[in-house]
């Protein structure tokens, strides 16, 4: 039991630290994340001889890296959270519907699942961006589409077996509507599956968002995310490595914390669902 709790406590502490940084980080710096200062360009961080006015230094436009990291973390985590929730709700709904509908609707949903799984999602995402242009609302839709097919497939499987349970058949016999059956009887039995899948989906959504923003095809300036910061910092690697390494490490730290926590949660929620 001792080793068990350590596996939960450490990643939880890491995650709390990241979230606290994103929420309360404004108190760490008086500067605004997009305010540039001509007189304070390319300042080094404290550990490379800088001043405490800008503890982590500034970028080529004289913007405070601490303020940019705070805002970037906030946006990256917030977007990933919204994206995970959208895909969980969408996938669960479609999974439930496909499990109780006839050949036509069920087949359509299964076809959509197969189609989404047929091409790597980053390529679908890039195609959507190419066709519709780039905007924040579209970007949220793209993140929300990521991974819905995994929820749908798993929920469908769970729902199909739940439909054969005696109390579900009893409810159907006495004329409970199919929506009420889904909500009151099927959903609770597949809920753990959804949570487990969400812990896998969440860090991957962070990686998708930061990856697309890194490529310059996600979050656009003046907004910033951790991936966009890393992409900007990449251009001055030789001169100021910290501009890339600090945002990159923050992404890694965050996804690592969530993955470790997800592993522990998965073991606790359902030992038979341990995935490789």
């Amino acid at each position: 039991m001792k080793r068990w709790s350590l596996g939960v406590v450490i990643p939880s502490a890491m995650l709390v630290a990241v979230v606290a940084f994103a929420v309360f980080g404004d108190f760490l710096t008086p500067h605004h994340y997009s305010a540039s200062s001509l007189l304070a360009r390319n300042l080094p961080p404290v550990f490379a001889g800088g001043s405490w006015e800008y503890p982590l230094g500034t970028d080529g436009l004289g913007r405070d890296l601490v303020a940019r990291l705070v805002f970037g973390t906030r946006l990256s985590i917030g977007l990933a959270l919204v994206g995970t929730i959208i895909s969980a709700v969408l996938g669960t709904a479609l999974g439930l519907i496909s499990a109780r509908s006839g050949k036509l609707v069920g087949g359509l949903i299964l076809g959509a699942i197969d189609l989404q799984a047929a091409v790597p999602f980053i390529i679908i995402a890039l195609a959507i961006v190419a066709i519709f242009g780039n905007s924040l609302s579209l970007f949220v839709v793209v993140l929300g589409l990521y991974g819905w097919e995994s929820y749908a497939r798993l929920v469908r499987g769970g729902a199909l077996s739940a439909h054969t349970l005696p109390f579900v058949e009893a409810a159907r016999t006495i004329g409970v509507s199919s929506i009420a059956i889904d909500r009151r009887h099927i959903l609770p039995t597949v809920f753990n599956i959804v949570i487990v899948q969400a812990t896998l989906n969440f860090p991957q959504t962070i990686l998708l968002e930061t990856g697309l923003s890194f490529l310059g095809l996600g979050i656009q300036p003046p907004l910033t995310s951790l991936g966009q910061l890393l992409g900007e910092g990449r251009n001055s690697l030789a001169r100021a490595w910290w501009l890339a390494v600090i945002p990159g490490s923050l992404i890694f730290f965050t996804t690592l914390a969530i993955s470790l926590l997800g592993d522990a949660l998965r073991d606790r929620l359902d030992p038979t669902l341990r995935r490789s």
Binding site: A130, F214, L215
Partner: protein, 312 residues
Amino acid sequence: MSLSFLMGKLLRFVLTIWAAATLVFILLRLTGDPVAAMVPSDAPQIVIDQYRERFGLNESLPVQYLSYLRGILGGDFGISFRTGGSAWDLVAPRIGPTFILTGLALLLALVIGIPAGMYAALHRGKMLDRFVMGFSVFGFAMPNFFLGILLILFFTLSLRMLPAGGFDSALSLVMPVITLGMATAGAYARMTRSAVLEVLSSSFMRTARANGVPPLRRMTHHVARAILVPLVTLAGFSIGSMIAGTVVIETVFAWPGVGRLLVTSVTDRDLAVVQLIVILAAATMALSNMVVDLLYGWLDPRIGTSRRSGGA
């Protein structure tokens, strides 16, 4: 392996590519006028009309769709908006470098991942097992674009050993292949470990031990054979994540491949090229799924005769 099994897999292959091509067609038409999405907003009407003519957009939708499918079948994937040449001519020379990159990365992942996973399973709970599992979590959480940048910082800017980008010599391969292969190696190690653990606890292993089969022979003749099917599954799955990885990694290392072309084409909104690359990606994945299915039938004859259900 029956003929109907083969035909079924082939049909699935064709259907997948057809579906992907159709999806791109529908998405493009959803925006209304694809030309409007491509040309600058202040383009004169005559230019717009010319492009409409060139892409056959004055026809009805079903006619457009049929000529689009006919074009794909005949190897005509449209005209690149940026270069004015055919999209295929732009993509074709990029396929080789991407193939080399992914092939070597897959090899690296197999060579590192499978022995590491086997070793971890045989020494369950020991130091090295923990290390291998830690490494696999690390590979899952580490963004490949950040790993690539760290490698550039270390090997190019500090040690000045390796070129930062391009594809000029064998040395150019080192960092992209490591970046692409590492995450997959972690996944392989994890998967191999759990597959071996499962086999070790099976009844036929107990029988083999009771009959006095020596340990090495038990590994090569019993375990290795039994984990082949899960490993083939994983290799098939990892083709998708590898294709996804090339998009980012080729951009980080300025690799002259399809992935980087996709990113620049999306930035330029060069839709014909994007469309062709989506179809190529779908075809590659469908092909690897088909190979996986055929390998199943060969490795485990029970699969080829009865229909395999589920899966992905």
